[in-house]
Symmetry: C2
Subunit: 287 residues, 2 copies
């Protein structure tokens, strides 16, 4: 296991691996690794000869009002977990290494769907920050398979669009959301929930199951439209006193735009606040 | 000589070359190749094992009011010249190959210097278009040396910034401006000048020489300040009845920002219209 903090070291390490015939897997993370990340790293380690895990809390994807300073950090624990899951490299650069002078004059910009709506409404500039750092990590890592969790469904769609539009030599691989036994999707932010909020946080998954049932029911009942499914999910969240709904929608999985009819691959998405912690979750359903 | 029109063909060709131990040189152009481009291609062919010339008139870097439709095109002539200069590959994709559906949701954005001021004032969005297409070409070409002309000095500074900020595995090589015997910098747009405009167009170079002389004189005379040099260049352009000045400045070569003092590497820049044709030129001077 090598722990690197300079971009040129990462490039050199992975270029050398490819020169020796190895395939490279990349798992970009913001650290505070949990079992969700572990599933990405294990899958990469199973499919690629060398797996590089990046640990970088990217300031560009946080707005001033957000929780950048409170984002959990545990590099020693991250290195241990990454190693145990089969990673060969952890790249954990300081901010100054990624953005000399603290900023990037050149950034990547997402002008529309799938980067519009949903998260982009609450977090303006968020996906520009994501695509900028991911583009830079892709360039440092070189040709690879890159592993992203379905938990961040809109981010996944945006990264797929980034790769397609700018022709990065990267194959994006998505991995299923890992959940607690009670259905709560794993997230580094879960650690900041109070016990009461933690108990209430299952409402996101419950709302998605309500929506999923409705989509399935909609196969027989033409009155079940996307807006109806969205309203059922919103009502499920509203029923939980500790949760405040941000959005609940039935969207197209590729464009993340609200569906006008329940056909094909439906992605149900929900976002809510539990106290100061904002959580998101989603579920894929065949209509 | 291979002529390719699909991005995956270019990637495959250059990946195979690198796998065989070859180095790759990339010469991005908008076609209508002239002796200026030829100097880039020859230099790449001298320094790299395989040289790929890209020919693509990038609609993203033209505003609706600009001369996209009038931009000259001569693919057969371009292929002949590229081949004669030692290129191994010409990549000439249709717009639909570069921007399926005619657009790119994900683009590259230049938020400040060196992408602000000068060309960016007259051509809003121009450098976003340039960096978007160059990023895509870099990703298709893979690790390489990329050759750009000093004639487009601000573009060169922007591309250097693109590579640095997003960590592209590319070494940017700049090549001196090639001029007609009377000093006019070669440009594909020169072909659209009337004979009278063509004669008058030497005013850009003459203005730069005036500025250069003033910078040199400034070594002995503290009253020679950047604004004074700029005014002398502007006056030189104004003295030519067929030319309309856009800008004349003494700027920092890396940031393209107006200098406050004549020290170090001074880049003199000028832009003017001759009839419907807008021309730019620049000169580097040691203060």
């Amino acid at each position: 296991m090598r722990v690197l903090d300079r971009g040129d070291q990462l490039r050199k390490e992975l270029d050398a691996a490819r020169a020796g015939g190895a395939t490279v897997g990349l798992v970009p993370t913001m650290g505070a690794l949990h079992e969700g990340h572990a599933s990405l790293i294990r899958r990469s380690a199973a499919e690629c000869d060398v797996t590089a895990v990046t640990v970088f809390v990217n300031p560009l994807q946080f707005s001033p009002a957000e929780d950048l300073d409170e984002y959990p950090a545990d590099l020693a624990g991250d290195v241990e977990l990454a190693s145990a899951c089969g990673a060969g490299v952890v790249f954990a650069p300081p901010v100054e290494e990624m953005y000399p002078g603290g900023t990037s004059v050149v950034t990547v910009h997402v002008a529309g769907p799938p980067g519009a709506g949903l998260e982009a409404v609450t977090r303006p500039g968020h996906f520009d920050g994501v695509t900028t750092v991911v583009a830079k990590l892709f360039n440092l890592a070189g040709p690879c398979r890159a592993y992203f969790g379905e938990k961040d469904a809109q981010q996944l769609a945006v990264v797929r669009r980034l790769v397609a539009d700018l022709s990065f030599p990267v194959e994006v691989v998505s991995c299923p959301t890992v959940r607690e036994p009670d259905g709560l999707a794993l997230s580094s932010r879960n650690a900041r929930l109070s016990p009461a909020e933690r108990a209430a946080a299952t409402v996101l998954h419950r709302a998605l199951l309500t929506g999923s049932t409705a989509v399935t029911a909609g196969r027989c009942d033409p009155s079940y439209e996307p807006a109806h499914v969205a309203a059922l999910m919103a009502a499920a969240v509203a029923a939980e006193p500790l949760a405040t709904l941000d959005y609940a929608e039935a969207v197209d999985a590729a464009t993340m735009e609200p569906l006008t009819a329940l056909t094909g691959d439906v992605r149900l998405v929900v976002a809510a606040r539990l106290g100061k912690v904002r959580l998101i979750d989603n579920l894929s359903v065949k209509a």
